[in-house]
């Protein structure tokens, strides 16, 4: 008990979830500040989940104007609203999210997150990025890691392509209470460290989707594309890249099936059921990290509708864990 009690209003609203994670966790949630950048359907799901859970504040970043495409998987935007010129995607989403829970402060921050200086990040307990290139992920992840205020900033990156999805988690050095008498310490690698872990050192059963996502990501970087700016026409060059990467990493090319690459290249739209699943898992992970309850996943979560598995892969150098 740190003196502050939940109000009667909070107790009534959060009754069912307090029964899951307890009053202390609820109190920590209500003091937390979350930043998201990139308002796609998956992030809309995530935002809904944590606003309902009762975080203290949520800051949205996405200056783009609403297009027809944005309506497909994002239930926070009403089709009749897209006519109203001048307002950004983040602003539209903000209006809807505020309605979900009046006790959460939802606001919009303009600008390009990657160019913000480090102090800006100090306000937040967790930063979530989506629709974000390889280079930008690295930059933002690094900025989160450099801050050394009292608590660490949790970093998450989420991608949804076709009916596949990936979540990356970096909690730096994370201690949490387990059943055992001793607290458990997890050491997370940064995104850059994780993706440079040599493939041949990974377990044979590592999910193929992990490798396929790295190939697509590298391809977009090499071609200077924005995330998701791909089509089936890119396949020949992607296969060349697959060959190069697999040779360099001593991985059998069959570990990255052509069919999977085809789906990832062509399916640039989000698949709403997968948005719900990824947004749900991501919401749960952020709630765990903030509340300090439950063992967080380390450090990739991958889901593919085709086999239906939601798999956790620990991609880190054995020496660092």
């Amino acid at each position: 008990m740190d003196g502050e009690e939940l109000t009667a209003q909070e107790t009534a609203l959060y009754d069912r979830q307090i029964r899951v994670w307890g009053v202390d966790a609820q109190r920590r949630l209500s003091k937390s500040h979350i930043l998201v950048s990139g308002m796609n359907g998956t992030v809309a799901e995530f935002c809904k989940n944590i606003v309902l859970a009762g975080v203290g504040s949520l800051t949205l970043m996405d200056d783009r104007l609403v297009t027809e495409e944005d309506l497909l998987a994002n239930f926070l935007i009403r089709p009749d609203e897209k006519e109203f010129g001048g307002r950004s995607l983040a602003e539209f989403c903000c209006d809807s999210l505020r309605e979900f829970n009046p006790m959460v402060r939802v606001s919009v921050e303009k600008g390009d997150l990657a160019s913000f200086d480090g102090e800006f990040f100090d306000k937040f307990d967790a930063v979530v990025v989506a629709r974000c290139s390889l280079a930008i992920k690295k930059v933002i992840n690094a900025k989160c890691r450099k801050r050394s205020k009292g608590t660490q900033i949790a970093f998450y990156a989420v991608d949804c392509r076709d009916s596949c999805g990936e979540i990356f988690v970096d909690l730096q050095n994370y201690t949490y209470a387990q059943n055992s008498p001793d607290d458990c310490l997890l050491k997370y690698p940064s995104f850059e460290e994780a993706i440079t872990v040599p493939w041949r050192t990974l377990p044979k059963r590592t999910t193929k989707l992990y490798f396929a996502m790295r190939v697509i990501e590298s391809f977009e970087q090499a071609e200077g594309r924005n995330p998701g700016e791909t089509s089936l026409a890119d396949l020949p060059r992607v296969l060349v890249l697959r060959k190069e990467l697999c040779e360099a990493q001593s991985l059998n090319e069959s570990q990255i099936p052509v069919g999977l690459l085809e789906r990832l290249l062509a399916g640039t739209r989000e698949y709403p059921p997968v948005c719900a699943i990824l947004g749900g898992i991501l919401g749960q992970e952020v709630i765990k990290a903030i509340s300090g309850k439950g063992d967080p996943l380390k450090n990739f979560f991958l889901f593919d509708v085709v086999d239906g598995k939601g798999v956790i892969e620990d991609i880190s150098n054995p020496t660092e864990t």
Partner: protein
């Protein structure tokens, strides 16, 4: 993908339930391109829904869930058709013909009874069903397609937990026993229907004498002051009754003796002057009447002292008498009725104190009394995503890829979402195959009423049953019965089986039917003289409805079948303990990596519990076995599945 889009666009789907899973499901269906969605839900919106049922707002409280959900989704998908029904799915309008118009039925229900009902109608209408459930971070989605996969009832579901009457009335040992006493006996006696049978004053040993003596104790005397009345009730139930019970030495030979509690022990000063002032309670509605503020108690998480509980007891009882007098005689316990929760919490705590059982906070007591299930938005969202994925497979008749998926809290074989191939139908399932059941029963001492209540309604889940012995109808339910038939059935109910006009004895075969569910089954009757009070509390034993031949008698079926004692049982209180064990089992999985107790989540969101059912997995060292991880179509297989299984088609 285009064929998938066409299949989705042309599909007509029925959602049952617009609650925690339902809100998420309706949203995800609409985003996924479904254009013709029907949704049934009888509930109205409550404040405690708002933390996860995100289509609802504060100002919707009290309105129909189905209707408000429709309006909310139309805001982001204005051009699709959503047809809401603010009604009970068990209503006769939702008959087999109604169900036949849909390509698939999607359940987001919160209780076993409705789930069984929908399962039966889907089987009869031959419409595929996707079933789901969540509790806390655990969830489950299953696919039920007639004759291809098991039906919802192929694995018996534990029926609601009941407690032996004497545990509740005389020898409580857990807090939940005190809650059941406070809610089903004391609260019902004071504020409920006076004509209901009530075991409040029944004590083992001297039931007859005491009930005569105390028959009018609970009646408020003419012009009796509410405070005096409250104190008199208090002294009677916590003091006098305990003293009287203590007189029976036999009961306490192997038990801790309870301590009688009288007002004067707890409040040596005059209690009425210490109690809060009624006028402090500015009242504008039942849900706002509360005893806590006037006594300075705010935090529902705190555990009150015996004195505080005593004050709450007296104050809440007084408030019922003064502020809610008109409702007395018609009240049933409602977890959203603040004053009722306060009264039950205080009464349960005082009784707990008397029996040396640790007291609990109002928050905890409310959870137990209201069978409140833990629920969070994230699990519901994930579940809804999985339901839509399976629904789309069904629309494309992609039977080889149907999966049931478990959402687990702690990774199992690296997985948080674990797909499993559906099981084949259970050949001994009385619901989806025509397997006869057999019933061991004392035909000379069991009345037809016992059979109807305990077996036909409770175990077989029928709502409008008819019972045939050969060609003669011995019982039937219906609105349009002729009077002499109805009278005859009423007479039959009170007869022992062997004394019915066409006597039911060993060897008799009864046919039990429910026309609405289009379900019929035969029951072989076997007379048996004695039953074990502990293990066979119903005084009868239904068999034949087992997952598969098994020599393991620790199977959970027996838990579900018989969990309480004595010829009389208290209905109702369904404990959360099943749920807890499910969560515990899940933890166990994570810790040992090899232990797996599958948690079947059968009820959700507001009503009740989960059952730790091992649908196919039992024992302590089985683990799901993965089939060749290199194939692209690999799935997790569970070994030792009694319904030996597999690959569909």
């Amino acid at each position: 993908m285009d064929s998938q889009k066409q299949a989705i666009k042309g599909a007509k789907v029925l959602m049952v339930g617009a609650g925690g899973i339902g809100c998420e499901l309706l949203k995800t269906l609409a985003l996924s391109g479904f254009e013709d969605i029907h949704i049934i839900d009888m509930d109205t919106i409550e404040v405690s829904n708002l933390n996860r049922q995100f289509l609802f707002r504060q100002w919707h409280v009290g309105q129909s869930k189905a209707k408000v959900a429709r309006e909310a989704v139309l805001k982001f998908r204005p051009h699709i058709n959503i047809t809401p029904y603010h009604a009970n799915v068990k209503d006769p309008e939702f008959n087999i013909d109604f169900f036949k118009q849909f390509n698939v039925v999607l359940n987001g229900l919160d209780n076993l009874d409705a789930r069984r009902h929908v399962n039966r109608i889907c089987l009869a209408a031959n419409v595929p069903l996707v079933e789901s459930g969540t509790t806390g971070f655990l969830g489950q989605v299953t696919v039920h397609v007639k004759s291809k996969t098991e039906c919802y009832e192929c694995q018996p579901k534990p029926t609601p937990k009941t407690y032996p009457v004497c545990t509740i009335t005389s020898t409580p040992s857990k807090f939940v026993h005190c809650i059941v006493w406070a809610k089903d006996l004391l609260f019902a006696k004071l504020f409920g229907d006076k004509n209901q049978e009530n075991d409040l004053n029944v004590r083992s040993g001297d039931a007859a004498s005491s009930s005569e003596h105390t028959e009018d104790v609970f009646e408020r005397r003419l012009n009796e002051d509410p405070e005096q009345y409250g104190q008199r009730i208090y002294d009677h139930v916590f003091g006098y009754n305990i003293d009287a019970a203590l007189a029976n030495e036999e009961t306490w030979r192997n038990r801790n003796r309870p301590k009688p509690i009288y007002i004067k022990d707890v409040m040596p000063d005059k209690p009425q002057q210490q109690n809060g002032n009624l006028d402090d309670n500015s009242v504008n509605g039942n849900s706002t009447v509360s005893a806590m503020p006037s006594l300075g108690l705010k935090n529902p998480q705190n555990i009150w002292s015996l004195l505080e509980n005593t004050r709450i007891f007296l104050e809440s009882l007084k408030l019922f008498l003064v502020k809610r007098e008109k409702e007395i005689g018609n009240l049933t316990f409602d977890k959203d009725d603040q004053l009722a929760v306060e009264f039950v919490t205080a009464a349960a705590n005082i009784r707990a104190a008397s029996f040396g059982i640790p007291m609990q906070s109002l928050f905890e007591a409310k959870g137990i009394a209201g069978n409140i299930v833990h629920a969070v938005a994230t699990t519901n969202a994930i579940t809804a995503g999985l339901i839509v994925i399976e629904a789309i497979k069904i629309l494309q008749s992609d039977a080889t890829n149907y999966r049931m998926t478990y959402i687990v809290e702690h990774p199992l074989r690296k997985m948080l979402l674990m797909p499993v191939e559906p099981f084949e139908p259970n050949k001994s399932c009385y619901v989806c195959s025509e397997t006869p059941l057999s019933l061991e029963i004392n035909t000379n001492r069991s009345k037809l009423r016992d059979f109807v209540e305990k077996i036909v309604k409770n175990k077989l889940g029928m709502h409008s049953p008819s019972i045939m012995h050969g060609t003669s109808l011995i019982y039937e339910v219906g609105d349009d019965l002729e009077e002499d038939f109805a009278n005859n059935y009423a007479l039959n109910l009170e007869k022992f089986l062997s004394e019915l006009p066409s006597p039911v004895t060993s060897g008799t075969v009864l046919t039990v039917e429910d026309f609405q569910q289009e379900l019929s089954c035969s029951i072989y009757i076997k007379h048996r003289e004695e039953f074990d009070e502990e293990k066979e509390p119903d005084g009868m034993l239904l068999t034949g409805w087992t997952p598969a031949p098994s020599n393991d008698d620790t199977r959970p079926i027996s838990n579900g079948e018989s969990s309480s004692n004595a010829s009389k049982q208290l209905p109702g209180t369904q404990e959360d303990s099943d749920e807890i064990s499910a969560v515990a089992a899940d933890k166990e999985i994570a810790l040992t990596g090899s232990k797996r107790k599958q948690s079947e989540i059968s009820d959700v969101d507001g009503e009740v519990a989960i059952s730790a059912c091992t649908s196919g997995i039992k024992g302590s060292n089985q683990k799901p076995e993965e089939v060749d991880d290199n194939g692209d179509d690999d799935v997790v297989m569970l070994d030792e599945n009694p319904c030996k299984k597999k690959r569909l088609q």
